[in-house]
């Protein structure tokens, strides 16, 4: 296997270069525009400190991202726990149910939530029919609607790394804890929870980063009233044609994401996030 390994690598070099250019070039291009349009310099970045609009967008994005992450982790952990403890046959079905939404276009799902949550939607009419409320609740075209749609999108991404982490836990450890005198609850808190924590952290990073760059769901369920970063970038570039500002925020997002990943890659195995163990 060792002989000719140099020739082997020379063969791969073009592929390697192509991939690097193919993947890195677009990102670099965005970065460049942010310091060249409308004029050379860091003018666009100064707006971060002065422009209230950008600051509000960033604040909204971070707030919605954190709320979404929190709820998705909670639901994801509960689901992953149920799946991890289920019989192998049942596990298959649960997993299929959790993954099913991933197959359906995020656009279709966003519209589905609009139809459910709008004033004449199923939820409001149902609650009114039951007499629980008098007037329709404002469930959509606000942050509530965005969070519902985003959580719905993110739960499968939260389940996968948590489940992978739970599956690595030797079930005998729980039996051992019980056998050594721990109640079900103590065994969970002292053994299962700490051992599944890496998956929880990985899921948190994954969901949070995904939330930051989300476009379709906030755009449709926010109804243009609540602006998150991705929609703001699109507005700058396509509607106001201010490429410089748009790419500036895009660059900030990319840098923020890479820094976050850099920090967490020291703590956790990034491959965990995709459920792929190396």
């Amino acid at each position: 296997m060792q002989r000719n390994s140099l020739g082997w690598w020379l063969l791969l070099l073009p592929a390697f270069l192509l991939m690097t250019v193919f993947y890195i070039a677009p990102i670099l291009q965005v970065l460049t525009i942010s310091v060249t349009e409308p004029e050379l310099g860091f003018g666009n970045y100064e707006r971060l400190l002065t422009n209230m609009g950008v600051q509000r967008v960033i604040g909204t994005t971070l707030r919605i991202g954190l709320i979404t992450t929190g709820i998705a982790l909670l639901l994801g952990y509960a689901l992953a726990y149920v799946i991890a403890l289920a019989e192998p046959r049942a596990q298959r079905w649960w997993l299929l149910c959790v993954l099913l939404p991933l197959w359906i276009s995020v656009l279709v799902r966003a519209f589905a939530w609009v139809t459910l949550l709008r004033r004449q939607g199923l939820v409001n009419e149902g609650l009114q029919g039951l007499g629980l409320i008098d007037a329709p609740l404002p469930l959509v075209w606000n942050e509530f609607g965005i969070v519902v749609g985003m959580v719905h999108y993110m739960v499968p991404y939260a389940v996968l790394p948590i489940l992978a982490s739970m599956r690595e836990i030797d079930p005998r450890l729980l039996a051992a804890a019980r056998g050594l005198g721990a109640s079900r609850r103590t065994a969970f808190l002292r053994v299962f929870l700490p051992l599944s924590a890496p998956g929880l952290v990985a899921a948190g990073v994954l969901v949070f980063i995904f939330s930051l760059g989300f476009y379709i769901t906030p755009a449709i369920l926010g109804g243009g009233k609540t602006l998150m970063a991705a929609e703001w970038i699109k507005l700058q570039i396509l509607d106001i044609i201010r490429w410089g500002m748009g790419t500036m925020l895009a660059t900030v997002m990319v840098v923020a994401i890479l820094v976050t990943l850099g920090i967490f890659s020291r703590i956790i195995d990034l491959r965990r996030m995709f459920g792929a163990r190396a």
Binding site: D170, A175, G179, G181, R190
Partner: protein, 369 residues
């Protein structure tokens, strides 16, 4: 010490999974301070019995008694049994000391009590130097000793061991067998061990329970089981054995006279029911109890044959000798000053005394079912 040792009893324990019977009416009792080993092939129900004792499996029928009181309905954490799991099941996120202190912590002991007992338990297994390490930084043998310390630290009523040595290599296993035996003597508690390794069962235990297909086949001291196996399964599972089938010609208190082809065999039949003349009897004959006879030498039983194959094992030879009347007979021969140099086809004469073999029941049919 004896005061801390408890007696365990199983009463017609049965566990079914659907139509599959994992444990089939097993009754046995373990005296205070004894070392009992449950021995059997995989699927014999030995682990299910251990898990029933530990409380992880609820029996379909029967009960588990500790010092005479029924503990069948108690959940595992209320039984106060120490357990060493297969693969040790050490908590990977805790240090060695935290692992050992875990049972004390969940029992709400004070920090000072916990520290003192943990240190004493780690001393017991000579691992005090490793208290702050993580289990993954220890060797297999050391992990096993941490598991033992953790299982003993809270003065459990019983120590349960689920194939405690199976993950270790041969040399280390022999070493830890000795340690485990010494530990049992030192702590003077009742141990229940599960294994499929006959050598481990023989060398460690006071009592061995041989299981097959969920049933208890024979219970007794190691030497009793090896020398007086009740059935063919026991003789075959505990060490190697030759099985000789013969027609009973005479059956007297002094012994049996068996006919196998043209060969007549003399066999002592100590105690128990003797087979009636005209029936067939099955004898179990250990390879190491057969001698090679020199020219002119005689023995109570003798048969001629030729060497079919042989293997050199360092301390001895294992010969397979083909005989006309008794089929293939395995003979274990010490290599040091062996009377012959084994070679294929070499004609040999085998001899053994009337008390060398034992009559056994033939449970091979039941085994295949």
């Amino acid at each position: 010490m004896e005061a801390k040792a408890h007696a365990l009893e199983l009463r017609s324990l049965t566990r079914r999974y659907g139509s599959f019977v994992a444990v089939d009416g097993v009754s046995l009792s373990v005296p205070r301070g004894a070392f009992l080993t449950l021995l059997g092939p995989s699927g014999s129900g030995k682990t299910t019995i251990l898990m029933t004792i530990a409380g992880f499996v609820a029996p379909t029928e029967g009960m588990v008694l500790l010092d005479g009181s029924d503990i069948t309905p108690l959940p595992p954490e209320r039984r106060d049994f120490g357990m060493v799991f297969q693969g040790y099941a050490l908590f990977p996120h805790m240090t060695v000391a935290e692992n050992v202190a875990f049972p004390l912590r969940v029992r709400g002991l004070s920090r000072a009590d916990r520290d003192a007992k943990t240190r004493a338990a780690l001393d017991l297994v000579q691992l005090d130097r490793f208290a702050e390490r993580k289990p993954s930084q220890l060797s297999g043998g050391q992990q096993q000793r941490v598991a033992l310390a953790r299982a003993l630290v809270f003065d459990p009523a019983l120590l349960l061991l689920d194939e405690p040595l199976s993950a270790l290599d041969k040399k280390l296993r022999a070493e830890l067998q000795e340690e485990l035996k010494a530990l049992h003597r030192r702590v003077g508690r009742t141990f229940v061990n599960v294994t499929h390794d006959q050598d481990e069962a023989l060398s460690l235990s006071d009592q061995v329970a041989i299981l097959n297909h969920g049933k208890l086949i024979q219970l007794g001291a190691p030497a009793t089981l090896y020398e007086q196996p009740r059935t063919r399964f026991v003789a075959d599972f505990l060490g190697k054995s030759n099985f000789i089938r013969g027609l009973v010609r005479e059956s007297r208190p002094s012994g049996l006279l068996l006919q196998a082809g043209a060969t007549t065999l003399v066999q002592q039949a100590p105690g128990g029911p003797r087979p009636a003349p005209g029936t067939t009897a099955l004898l179990s004959l250990r390879p190491e109890k057969i001698a090679l006879l020199a020219a002119g030498e005689t023995a109570e039983n003798s048969v001629s044959g030729s060497i079919l194959s042989w293997a050199y094992l360092g301390s001895g030879f294992l010969l397979v000798v083909r005989t006309a009347d008794l089929g293939e007979i395995r003979v274990a021969l010490p290599a040091w000053r062996a009377p012959i140099a084994p070679a294929e086809g070499l004609a040999v004469r085998l001899g053994w005394s009337a008390d060398a073999a034992v009559p056994v029941e033939d449970d091979l049919v039941a085994d295949a079912a």
